[in-house]
Amino acid sequence: MPSSLLTTTRSITRRRLLQAAIVGVAGTTVLLLAFMVSDGLASLGLPGGGLAAYLVLVGRALGAITGLELFSFRFVWYSLATGALIGIVGPVVGIFIVHREMALIGETLAHTAFAGVAGGLLIGSATGWSAPLLASALVAAVIGALAVEWLAEHAAAYGDVPIAIMLTGSFALGTIIISWGGGFSGLNIEAFLFGNISFVPVDGAWLMVVVSAVVLAAVGSRYKQLLYVTFDEQAARVARLNVSGYNRLLIVLTAMVVVGSMQVLGVILVAAMLVVPTAAASQVATSFREAMALAVLVGETSVISGLLIGYAYGIPAGGTIVLIAIAWYVLAVVLADHEISLSARSAS
């Protein structure tokens, strides 16, 4: 077969495979969200709860056959739905963050969110008003995001120094607040630090739905501008795009994704879902659009399989998810290297 025809055939096959995978991801996510909506309606005593009950029944039947009972638990469906959304919005935001060379910003904002959780607990214990911890984490992460952006602008360039200062500073603040509050009895700090499949509360899952809707609407409507600013900031400024505004938007979206993802991945590992899928996809993608689609696929398969494996074997889901994503990355590096070798051989 002539090489140009071979290339075209490979390109079409690749595109079709990618389209099929994206349809699979979308279908899985829609099913999981449908469970949440149905279960929500049932808990409010409204009609429409049949689907959730049916899916739990199917889960029980599967458990009876396979011995794997996880689909018979409502919390697993909520965790999977949250995970599915993390697998989408993490890479969708992460692809811009990574290519702006701000890979560590996710880690920083997660630590800021941790300080927010500690702050929320302190306010709760001092006033008796129990603020939702994820809400206080979100507020802290957004404030932290804007502070990093302010520091970066006033330091004249993005660098790792403001990021490192914010990362260590907010974690230091969080640990001092927790120590000051006498460890806040009843708080599962490990769940915040390392994530937990059983840690996703119903309101946490719904927070992730809202976060995902905001993130996807923002990136969908400002994709072109974010791409231009990421690729060539100076030319984007000359083209009169509001570069500072888009930088702020990106970093605030990152803060939102981080807080939503913290429930499953934990503070320590949350940055992985922003960075690793993009790093893997960028190795083999032929365009930015394809890189985004591939990153979502890597993110989605890592989160869903990591949650299931974590549950089945009783190991931390966050760590499992990250290791699966890194396995994808290694595979992508090998594939890219193989592709380069093939190109070099056909050129010589």
Binding site: K224, F231, T286, S287, F288
Partner: protein, 246 residues
């Protein structure tokens, strides 16, 4: 003719260091201006001031007759930054995606239209990168990348093309081809501001020269520059212009 860019008595400092002092110059529509000066002379700073990337400490800048702060029609300017060949060096962006960026200032949040895509195709064909449109930009040679950036400016229908040492790291043959392309675009009426360290290239191509070293040593037609002592005064040494003949 009207000025596409104008600086009036512009001064700019980095802290206590004066980078540009009391510089006034105009770039007319359709003009090819070569901006030269020794290393660290403030050429890039002056270009950034003209494009609104920096704000002057005193003096004023106008773009297309408007104060630079009020100028919003970014599609009228194409810009290729210094070291642009290093841009997005690991980013999986295709040539077509880069050239499409030229249409972004015209579209806001809306999707690109069929007309936009046709303009993008025409721009790629014009600079001969249409065969490379699905290639990643970081897989191209320096010369091919520069042509892709020019295509981006063409896609935006720019009236002014600003280039900051665009051929650094580009081989000689590609460089000649690139400058041939600039001549053609200038013949079509696009104003060009070119920063280039090779004075011979500039004096061969540009119809007017601005020679800076903090202050403006010369601003006028190329012939009068070659005959003047501006080069010696700006560079602080005697030298002659070497013309390229290919």
């Amino acid at each position: 003719m009207s000025a596409v860019a104008a600086a009036r008595n512009v001064t700019f400092r980095y802290g206590d260091t004066v980078a540009i002092e009391d510089v006034s110059l105009e770039v007319e529509a359709g003009e090819f201006l070569g901006l030269i000066g020794p290393n660290g002379s403030g050429k890039t700073t002056l270009l950034h001031l003209l494009l609104g990337l920096k704000e002057p400490d005193s003096g004023s800048i106008e773009l297309f007759g408007e104060p630079v702060a009020d100028f919003e029609d970014g599609g009228r300017i194409g810009y290729v930054a210094q070291q642009a060949t290093q841009q997005g060096s690991t980013m999986p962006v295709t040539v077509e995606e880069v050239v499409e960026m030229g249409r972004y200032p015209h579209r806001g949040a809306s999707r690109l239209t069929d007309e936009d895509r046709e303009i993008v195709r025409d721009a790629m064909a014009r600079v001969d990168v249409d065969d490379l449109r699905n290639r990643r930009i970081n897989a191209l040679s320096g010369g091919q990348r520069q042509r892709a950036y020019i295509a981006r400016a063409l896609a935006s229908k720019a009236d002014l093309l600003a280039l900051d040492e665009p051929t650094v790291g580009v081989d000689a043959e590609s460089r000649d081809r690139f400058y041939g392309l600039l001549d053609e675009l200038n013949d079509d009426g696009i104003a060009i501001i070119l920063i280039e360290h090779d004075i011979g290239v500039v004096t061969d191509r540009a119809e007017r020269i601005a020679c800076v070293n903090r202050e403006l040593y010369h601003h006028g037609d190329t012939e009068s520059f070659v005959e003047s002592d501006a080069l010696e005064r700006a560079y602080g040494a005697t030298g002659t212009v070497v013309h390229h003949h290919h």
